[in-house]
Symmetry: C2
Subunit: 520 residues, 2 copies
């Protein structure tokens, strides 16, 4: 109903009443966020409060920013602008800018919908992702969305929408070639450096595999940390494209490219509470794979005690979920459920893992790492129909044994700016070492991934490339008291001492004895 | 298993490995948060990342702070300390302080438990509240907890634990008298200023009613905003105690005291998404009542179209919830389900509402406000057994008609530093006015609370005390085209114009016509 008013009213937009002009004061700090500071009285006068979203308008352009208020730092008529914003939008001291209060972004309603157990449809997820990318949602709001996704779950269509929005949030690799293969490991297994063996085998087989990897957040090393011992891993999209077009394979750090950047923003919020809503996990992984143009993707789901997916039943569900969503995203997926209860390979920590990798590529090395890598490379060769079903493993083995995988690995190292002639003796292994011995005899029943990772991390890994743990025993080994169990490597005596102390306090190994007791 | 090590290890606490000393650099900004800025390389070297919790140790004291990192602002060996922290802990430029990385606080596990649909027991909620009060939880983590409470709900025992933790988070009013009465309104009704009539009646009846009220967040005025037209409302606990011991009643702003401060921190997080988990709402309300020692509490649950509780069934559930939890907190509660679909009284906005209150206390005034206030005061008198059941309304009416409530009101105004002889003509009503007329004839079927509040707010309420809306009609009135519907008051012509524009755009009133059509 339009009410009847006698007075002629000036033409103003009532919804933009919260608007005023003030002068820029530069605050010489980088905050990493888009924040402006208003004078508290100015803000109150215009009904604007801390946490409100505003647009700042300057020379015909609009940018969003979150409001903070201050009584002292910013005087009436001023707006405090942190260096980030000032640089990004070329704001100068004393310049007038217009502050316009914005209504809540559309995505607030969609977040509420998810909180109320609704299903997001028709671009609603895309809108949320856009608002996150443009800093229109606060950490509080994004956290609520992630929490709701964790509790209420995502439908397949929501996962697909999020994966596509994740792709759209960043740059994409267009090789103009096919087929393109890729692999991913759900993670949690110490020393599990299969990527650095699988990629050279696949590339040596003549197939494209532009692999991006992460750095470690809480584990001892990510593939990017380990590859970095041998070569540069930070490249932009054009550089990566050039490497892959030459070698067919690459092993680079995903964070170096503008690939799926919304994922980084989500991980920042998910990390403090280790919130891994399955739908977000899938969208993140498959969004990144789609961003590099992958058509055939092998997903390794390590399963067992102490890793993310403890039970095979759960791994089966997760695998099916990957297959369903992958198909709708145009990717052919194979999910491998692998035994992840113990570390793979002997070394844990960047340089020690490189040693395992070079050994395997040289035809020797830890059997478990070699076998798992061949299994995975073989499955990939079968998945894209390069070799017939059942022939993948032996095909991968032939490539490895022929030395072609090692040549390819060295070619990639060279293209990524490393020393292609690197030998194991060149690796920067930590100089301070300590052997930890078995306290009692028996049969090794379990080696704990998390404890091994923690010791390696306390020893300095992944920042100290040479720090880590070398395991001398594997599950099932019979040991006597005093046998060497593992060696800790560190770059300083103090870090070594910390790591030794950690090894004494943690349950690294669980033993089983034959004789449990005797009575007379 | 303690592993067997040959080397003698220095006695160090491995869990505090992430520790280093650096020198204070003061950053001259108030952030309202406990944040320190570390040099990015220093932080990485010590495996500390943005968002990590640390303890800063200085002269034998420890304080928690969240880490931010910077490449430029803070040099290696320095720690940036914002003015808040520097002032609170007397840190000086160049002083050495120790940065100690803290493991996750215990409450992280309890938040995860709630996310996984668990019930928090045995002091787990108390721990979360303590961690929030001590800034050991980030906004991301607190938001996740509130979201989980919203989706998964709280059991009665959780609500009680939260209410008690809320009480413990702040100061408490100990009058040393009884009985102590209180009232609360769930809110959403424009102009609903019953508190300013109920409190004087109850106090005039010789009963203690130390009423704390809120300021408006999104409505046109809170009771604290309205009372502030007549008297000061900001007092500390001792001042309030002194007022109540003299007059038996007070009407002060709750935010002025250190009453249930965790509630303010939770509201800051709840507000952006308007998250009102019922359990948190109850704990907040009843925690505040318990903090002032209330034994008998009347809860007004306005119900109907456009308010928080739209249906009577829902209001019944909420009322029962209040009774159950209140009983376990040692409070006798009566819940009144009232018709909240339309504004109560004529004025909406601080000074206009004061006018209604003074009219009612003078024996006249809007019938609906008077009737509702007497109903509530009467129920309170019965609840504490001051008068027999069924006699409350008339007892309240006698106090009002005798002028004792008005005398008591003036006594309280005087004690709160206001002009006890204030008359309606003294009220600072806005000078710029505009009558809005009915555009069509018919019977008024509905007046929308939110639209009326919005117009009042755009006119300048509650900051401009004289701004607001005066309603000339109520539900059920028959009107003709051109009849005065409401008058807008403002302190400036521009705000008046904005409010007029809003009135034209909003559906303030819904009409019903007798004749819906005719055919020949």
């Amino acid at each position: 109903m339009n009410h009847y008013v006698e007075k002629e009213v000036k033409k103003v937009d009532v919804w933009k009443v919260k608007k005023y002009v003030c002068k820029v004061k530069i605050i010489d700090i980088f905050t990493g966020k888009k924040i402006i500071v208003l004078n508290e009285d100015d803000a109150k006068e215009h009904d604007i409060y801390a946490g409100f979203r505003t647009q700042i308008r300057h020379q015909g352009e609009s940018h969003s920013a979150i409001v903070d208020v201050s009584k002292e730092l910013v005087k009436a008529g001023e707006v405090g602008v942190f260096r980030d914003l000032a640089t990004a939008h070329k704001l100068k001291k004393g310049e007038p800018i217009e502050i316009v209060h914005m209504d809540q972004p559309a995505s607030i309603a969609y977040i509420k919908k998810k909180l109320d157990k609704g299903t997001l449809v028709n671009g609603e997820i895309k809108t949320i992702v856009d608002d996150i990318m443009n800093d229109r949602l606060s950490e509080i709001e994004t956290s609520a969305w992630i929490t709701a996704a964790y509790i209420n779950g995502f439908s397949d269509s929501e996962v697909i929408d999020l994966a596509n929005a994740t792709v759209d949030s960043g740059e994409q690799l267009n090789l103009g070639k096919k087929p393109i293969l890729d692999k991913h490991c759900v993670g949690g297994v110490a020393g599990n450096r299969t990527t650095m063996i699988v990629v050279p085998i696949i590339a040596a087989a003549g197939l494209y595999i532009p692999k991006t990897s992460s750095r470690s957040i809480t584990s001892a090393a990510g593939t990017a940390d380990t590859m970095e011992v041998l070569a540069n891993v930070t490249f932009d999209m054009d550089e990566m494209r050039s490497i892959v077009l030459k070698a067919k394979g690459a092993m680079v750090w995903g964070g170096g490219m503008k690939l799926a950047p919304v994922d980084d923003k989500l991980i920042r919020i998910r990390h403090p509470l280790s919130l891994d809503p399955e739908g977000m996990l899938l969208a993140s992984i498959l969004g990144k794979k789609k961003s590099v143009g992958a058509q055939y993707v092998l997903v390794d789901i390590p399963t067992g005690r102490g890793v993310k997916v403890p039970y095979v039943e759960r791994a089966n569900e997760l695998g099916k979920h990957f297959l369903r969503v992958g198909e709708k995203l145009g990717m052919k997926i194979e999910a491998l459920i692998t035994d992840g209860a113990e570390p793979v390979g002997n070394g844990v920590g960047p340089a020690l893992e490189c040693s395992d990798v070079l050994e395997v590529l040289g035809g020797k090395g830890p059997e478990d790492l070699k076998h798992k890598s061949l299994l995975m490379a073989g499955k990939l060769l079968e998945l894209c129909k390069k070799v017939p079903s059942g022939k993948g493993y032996s095909a991968a083995q032939n490539i490895l044994n022929s030395g072609k995988a090692m040549s390819k690995f060295r070619e990639i190292i060279d293209l990524q700016g490393g020393n292609s002639r690197v030998r194991i003796s060149d690796l920067p292994i930590g100089k301070y070492t300590q052997v930890i011995k078995c306290e009692e005899g028996g049969s090794i029943f379990h080696i704990d991934n998390k404890s091994v990772s923690k010791i390696a991390r306390i020893a300095g890994s992944p920042r100290d490339k040479g720090a880590g743990v070398l395991l001398h025993r594997t599950r099932g080994d019979r040991v006597e008291k005093g046998d060497a169990l593992l060696t800790i490597y560190a770059n300083s005596e103090s870090k070594l001492d910390f790591a030794i102390k950690a090894a004494q306090n943690l349950e690294v190994v669980e033993m089983r004895k034959m004789l449990l007791g005797s009575m007379q």
